[in-house]
Amino acid sequence: MLSLLLIILAATFFTGIIIRTKSIASGRKGPGIFQPLKDVMRLFKKGAVYSETSSFVFRIAPTIYFSSVFVAMLVVPFGQSKGLISFNGDFIFFAYVLGLGKFFSIIGAMDTGSSFEGMGASREALYSMFAEPAFFILMGSLALMTGHTSFQDIFSTLHLGSSITYALGVLGAFVFLMIAMIENSRMPIDDPKTHLELTMVHEVMILDNSGFDLGLILTAGYLKFAVYGAIIFNLFSGSIPYEYAIPLFFVMQVFLAVVVGIIESFMARSRMNHNAQFIVVLSSVAILIFFGALLVSGKFI
C-alpha cells in the first residue's frame, strides 16, 4: 500500500525532472517539473478525435494499457512493506501483465490503418520481445541468490548475506534502468522528442490518440518510470527503516530522473537496426549477474 502511494507521488515529478534536466543541459530554462502533470490534466478535460478507420479496439486499448501498468504497479513492494498484491512468482505476473498492455497498445496502433503506426507497432513488438529475457534472467538470479520468488521476499533478503550483493545490485540497477528506458521508449532506443514519424517508435503509435485516451497513455508512461525507479530503489533498500527509506526513495527517484535526463542530453540514439544488438547486450549483462549470483550463493564449483 505504501509503495502504491510513493510510486504515484514519484510519478508526478519524474518525467518533469527529466525534461527540466534536458532543458538545463541544453541551456534553456525549461518548464516546471509539474508541467507533464498539467498537460495530462488538460488532456483529461478535452473531447476526442477518432480515426474513421478505427474500431472498438482503438477505443479500449489505452484504458487496458493504463490498467495493465497500474496493476503491475500493485505488485511492486517498498522495502519491508509488501505491494498490494504479493505472492510467489509475482514478478512473472508483473512482466506478463505489462505484456497485456503492450499487446493492446500494438493492436491499437494497427487499428488506425496508418502506415506510420504499423511501423511503430512492429518495432515495439520486436524490442519488447528482446527486453524480456534480460528482466527474467535478472530476477531469476536474484531469486536464486535469495531463495525466494516474490518481489518483496527477494528484495528484503537480498543483502543479508555478503556485501558483494551490492556490486550485483549496481549491475542490476543498470539493467533495470535500461529496461525502463526501453519500456518507456527513451534514448538510446527511441527519442521521444523526434519530429520525424519514420524514426519514432512509441510516439508514432499514439499519433491518433487524443483527449482522455492520450491522457491515460501519458499517465501510464509516467507511472512506468516511477515503477522501475521503485524497483531500482528496492535493489538497495534492504531493511532500512522507513523514516530514512522514504526520503531516500525520493532522492533516488530524483537522481534517476536526472540520470535519464543527462543520458538523453548527451547521447545520440542508436541507429534503428542497432537497437536489437543493444538490447541483446542487456541480456548478456543479465547473464553476467546470473553467474555473479552463482558465485555468491556458492553454487559455482
Binding site: Y50, F70, F103, I107, M110, G211
Partner: protein, 675 residues
Amino acid sequence: MIFVLVFILIPFLCMCLIPFVKMKEKAIAVYASVCTIAIVTSYLAFQGLAGNDFELILPGSLVSGPVRLHIDALSGWFMLIINFTFLTGGLYGIFYMRAYSSQKKNLNLHGILFVLLHASLISLCAIQNSIAFLVAWEIMALSAFLSIIFEHEKVATIRAGINFLIQSHVSILFLMLGFIWVAGQTGSYDFSAIHSYSMTHSGALSLMLFLFFFTGFAIKAGFVPFHTWLPYAHPAAPAHISGIMSGVLIKIGIFGILRMILLIDVDYTTVGTIILIMSIISGVYGVMLAILQHNLKKLLAYHSIENIGIIGIGIGLGCIGLGTNNPVLSSLGFAGALLHTLNHSLFKSLLFFTAGNVYQATHTLDIEKLGGLVKKMPQTTVLFLIAAIAISGIPPFNGFISEFILYTGLFNWMQQAAIGTLVGSAFTIIGLVLIGGLALMCFTKAFGVVFLGNPRHTFEHEVREVHFMQILPLYFIAALIVFIGLFPGIFLDLLVKPVQLFTGVRQLPFTSFRGNGIEALLSVSRASLYLIVLVLLLLGIRKLVLRKRTIMVLPTWNCGYTNPTPKIQYTASSFVKTYSELFGMVFLIFKKEKEVEGIFPTTAHLETRPYDKIEKWFIDYPITNLKLFLGRFGFVQNGKLQFYILYGIMFIVSIISIPILYDTVMQFVEFLKEL
C-alpha cells in the same frame, strides 16, 4: 459393460443411418452420436478423475488375448478434453459444412468419419492392449486422413493428406516396433507387460524402448523435427477438423508419451532432459516460423508446434522432478503440462474456428489480402482476440495460468540444482520467455493485419458475419478460457489425481497443490480480477467523461497526406521485416523480386515464400536422395508383359529353391563338420 455397449452401438446405428436420411437429419445423427459418446465417456472420465477407476476386461480375440479397458485419472483428463472439443467442434462443423451441402456423398463420409475419429480418440485413452491400441490408432489415422482431404479436388489438399498419411504410418511403425519388442520378450500384449518388462531389464534397454515409443508419439504430437506434416495438414482440412486436429489429435501423442512415462520404468532424469531439450527447440522454432507465415491457418499450425513445446517443457520438468526425487518440481511440471494441454485445446480450436469463419466470409486465408474485418465480423473479431491473448500467455486468460505453473516449477528447480542443471533451467526460462515474446509479436501481427485497419483487397462477394449458431459454440470455448483464467484453483484440484499417478511412480509424497503453487495462483486470479474491475471502471469513467464532450471522427493522420489508400498500410510482411532479417540464418525464405528502377518506376513486385529449413534437411534431402537411388532400378519396371511374367517365375522359383539350397548347404556344412 453397458457403457461399452452404448459407446459402440449408438454411434454404429447412427453411422448406418447417415447415408439414408435428409441433410438436416444427417447433422442430427452425427451430433447425436457425438453427444452419446461424450456423455457416456465423460461420466466414466469424471469417475476416473475422482479416483474411481473404470476397469473392464473384454474377451478379445485369439491373437490379441483379452483386451483390458482401464480409465484412470490421466485417461479421464484427456477424455474430457476430447469430448469438449468434439462437442463444440461438432456443432461448429455442422454449420460450417452447410456451405458444402451440395456434395451429399462427400458429406455422408465426412459425418461418419467424424464420429469414428471421436470414438477412436476416446478409445485410445482407455485401451490397455497393444493390438487393440494399434487398431484404434489406425482407425484414428485413417479417419483423420479422410477428413483432411474433404476438398480432395484441390491438389494441395491431396498432397497434404498423403503427407499426413505417410507420416502417421511412420509413427505407427515405431509404435508397432515397440509393442512387438515387448510382446516378443514377454509373450503378452497387455500394457502391464511393458511395465513388467522395463522393471526386469536394464536401464539402457528400457530407455531404448521408451525412445521408440517417444518417437512414434512425437510424430503425432508434432515435436521438432517430426513436425513437418502439421503445417500442411492443418490449412488443408476444413476448419472444424483443423481445430480438432490441433486441439486433440496431436494431444493423443502427448497422452501416449505420458502413458509411457507411467508404464516404462526408466532413468527419468535422462528422459526428462531429452524431452526438455526437444521441447525448447520445438517451442522456439515453432513460433519463430509462425511469425513468417502468410497463410492464417499455417501460422496457427506452427503455433501448435510451439504449444506442444510448452507442454513438453512441463513433461520434461516433471520427469526431471521424478528422477531427482523432487515432488514439488514433478507435480508442478506435470500439472503445467496437463493444464496447458487443456488450455491449448481451447484457444487453438477457437483460433481455428474463427479462422474458418474468416475463410467462409472472404474465401481466402492469405493475410496479406485481408484487413478491416472487425467492422464486418465483430463477433468473430472479439473471439479471435480472446484466443490470441490467451495463446500469448498473457493474463487474465488461461494461457498465463499454465505458463505460470511452469515458471513456478522452473524457479523451484533453480533453487535446488547444481551448476549444470542451473544453466539448463536458465536456458529453459529464456526459452519460455522468448516463446512468450515471439507469440505476442505473432498474434499482434495476425490480429492486427487480419481484423484491423482497412480491407487490403476488394472482394467480389459481400463479406459478412457467419450464422449465429456457428458462433455460439465458440462462445462456450471463450467462456471456459476466461473461467480458467479467473478460477484456476478448481482445475488444479481436478489435476491432483492425474498428477498423483506420476508422483506415485517414484512414491514421492504429494497430496495436493496446497503449499506449493496454488496459493500463488489464487493471488494471480485475484490480481486478474483487479485488472478486469479496473478496466471496466476506467471504461465507465471514460464513457461518463466523454458523454458531454465533442467527439469527432476524422481520417487517420497521415502526416498531411490527404488521399491515403489501403495500400499504404503496414502489411504482415513489413510488420515482421526487421525480425526476419535479424534471424535470417534460421529461416529459408524464397524470394521473387523485381525492384523499382528508373525515375518513373514501372511495375515492381516482391514475393516471399517462407520454407522450413528442418523440413529441407530432414525430409526433402533424404527423400530426393532415396528417389535418385531407387531411380536406378527404373529399368526393372519397363512395361513389357513378358518381363513381368519372368519376374513372377523368378519369384516362384526362388521361393522354392532357396530353402532347398539352404538345406543342401547346411547338409554340406554338417558333412564338413563331421569330417
